[in-house]
């Protein structure tokens, strides 16, 4: 069997927000640029391109990742959820929808640039720690930069969703 050779472009096939997608991509294109520029899913934002601000967070095979620190080619064969499909996705969809409602009610967003990533990041916390404390919420969100809100309304919103969902459990 011939060993694989390095290439500069590849075909990738993946699922994005439940849709099958196939594209031919330069290997150097990162995942967030692929989502935004190639697929037109501009809800995921670019804030730093060095993995610190969190604005590019998407769900990759069920786990949140920094899309600026992944290559599009690495998404071949994977399942990606971005904000555009997050509220209706299997698994965390309901949590994201609940968060959107609470964020709206509490004005837990102002300019909105950090918001898609905040929602996806918070949803992952609620999914694994539905009884998260305020401190745990703050710690979990500490990788997502927001310059507008000062974070409290976001923490309040996440906490409120936890409480409501706990209240809703039998």
């Amino acid at each position: 069997m011939n060993p694989p050779q390095p290439v500069t472009e590849v075909d990738i096939a993946l699922t994005v927000n439940g849709e099958n997608v196939t594209r031919h991509v330069p290997v150097r294109q990162n995942l967030v640029d692929f989502l935004r520029d190639t697929l037109g899913l501009t809800g995921t934002h670019v804030g730093c391109e060095h993995g610190v601000c969190g604005a590019c967070t998407v769900r990759f095979d069920g786990a949140i990742v920094r899309a600026c620190l992944m290559l599009a080619v690495q998404a071949d064969g994977t399942d990606i959820v971005t904000i555009e499909g997050a509220a209706t996705a299997d698994g965390n969809g309901e949590i994201v929808a609940d968060l959107q409602r609470e964020f709206h009610q509490r004005n837990a967003l102002q300019c909105g640039f950090c918001t898609p990533a905040m929602l996806l990041t918070a949803a992952e916390l609620i999914a694994v720690r539905p009884q998260a404390s305020r401190d745990e919420i703050r710690t979990h969100l500490s990788g997502n930069y927001c310059r507008c809100t000062g974070y409290q309304s976001i923490v309040d919103a996440v906490e409120a969703v936890c409480r409501k969902r706990a209240g809703a459990q039998p």
């Binding site: 060993p3 694989p4 290439v7 150097r28 967070t57 920094r66 690495q74 710690t139 979990h140 990788g143």
Partner: protein, 292 residues
């Protein structure tokens, strides 16, 4: 900040991966978690010709116990280590350290092998490996060899990995009777690189500490075992005076440099504080403390 041009290849076996790294040598970089490499590429601080993607080699993953050894494959994600019951049982120091490694999204991709091979002086994982006297399994054209973590980290981003080699796994020899661990780091914000950090283990018998390993990180170009401080701590029992002597002895173990962010005096002060607090952690019943 867009990465420069490079080509990409995804080996289907470890043998292929080693062939590729030998073929391309200095021109190639491993793509493991990518959490450090892609940032460097985006900032054009690195310009490799070839990226060799290790993410499709399942033989590099996994956490398992063989006899008395805990074996963690090089491509195991930090997130998996963070919530592994095997790790909690056999290498609890790693479990304590994981929440301090960046943030959840980074831990979902970053790997133990990547952290070891990159050898950032402020990284948590190398220090834990040094404290635990871990052994790294390395593979090259000539086969496998084992390197002690304590011999592996040579300097700033500099390790004992030779050209044409890759990391396969890290082996931990398990918890000894009466052993406790402590992990503390000081950072300005949660998830930031540490200003100073300490991965510690010891056998605790009442107020006495034996077989103490104190691996400081972020205070030098690599993790440093504070042997002089340890020698003092292991005498008699732990008293405030003994801790003070051990803190003073750190001056013989650590020589941090001034840099744009912190003076060496600052890092030394924090190292002294970490020592005292980690010792206190070790002596506590549960041995687990918050790191601030």
């Amino acid at each position: 900040m867009k990465a420069p041009s490079f080509s990409y290849v995804r080996p289907e076996s470890i043998a292929q991966a080693i062939d590729l790294i030998n073929q391309y040598g200095d021109e190639a970089r491993w793509l493991a978690g990518g959490q450090s490499l892609l940032a460097a590429l985006n900032m054009r601080l690195a310009a490799p010709s070839v990226l060799i993607d290790l993410n499709s080699l399942p033989e590099l993953g996994g956490i398992s116990v063989h006899g008395d050894k805990l074996i963690i494959g090089a491509m195991t994600r930090h997130a998996e280590i963070e919530c592994s019951p095997l790790v909690a049982q056999h290498a609890p120091l790693l479990s304590l350290a994981m929440p301090h490694v960046a943030h959840a999204a980074i831990r979902n991709r970053g790997t133990i092998g990547g952290s070891i091979a990159f050898a950032d002086p402020a990284a948590e994982v190398p220090a834990c490996c040094v404290a635990l006297d871990a052994v790294f399994v390395v593979a090259g054209r000539g086969g496998e060899r084992r390197v002690r973590a304590r011999d592996f980290f040579l300097g700033l981003y500099d390790t004992a990995l030779q050209a044409g080699e890759m990391l396969l796994a890290a082996e931990f020899s398990g918890v000894r009777p009466g052993e406790r661990v402590a992990f503390r780091e000081l950072a300005r914000r949660h998830g930031d690189y540490a200003i100073a950090g300490l991965a510690a283990r010891a056998t605790v018998n009442g107020n006495a500490l034996r077989d103490v390993d104190l691996a400081f990180f972020a205070v030098d170009t690599k993790p440093v075992l504070a042997t002089h401080a340890v020698a003092i701590l292991q005498q008699g029992t732990v008293t405030p005076e003994r801790v003070q002597l051990a803190q003073q002895a750190l001056a013989q173990d650590l020589a941090p440099q001034d840099d744009v962010h912190y003076s060496s005096a600052m890092r030394m002060q924090l190292a002294r504080v970490l020592l005292a607090r980690a010792v206190s952690d070790l002596l506590q019943a549960a041995g687990v403390q918050e790191s601030r």
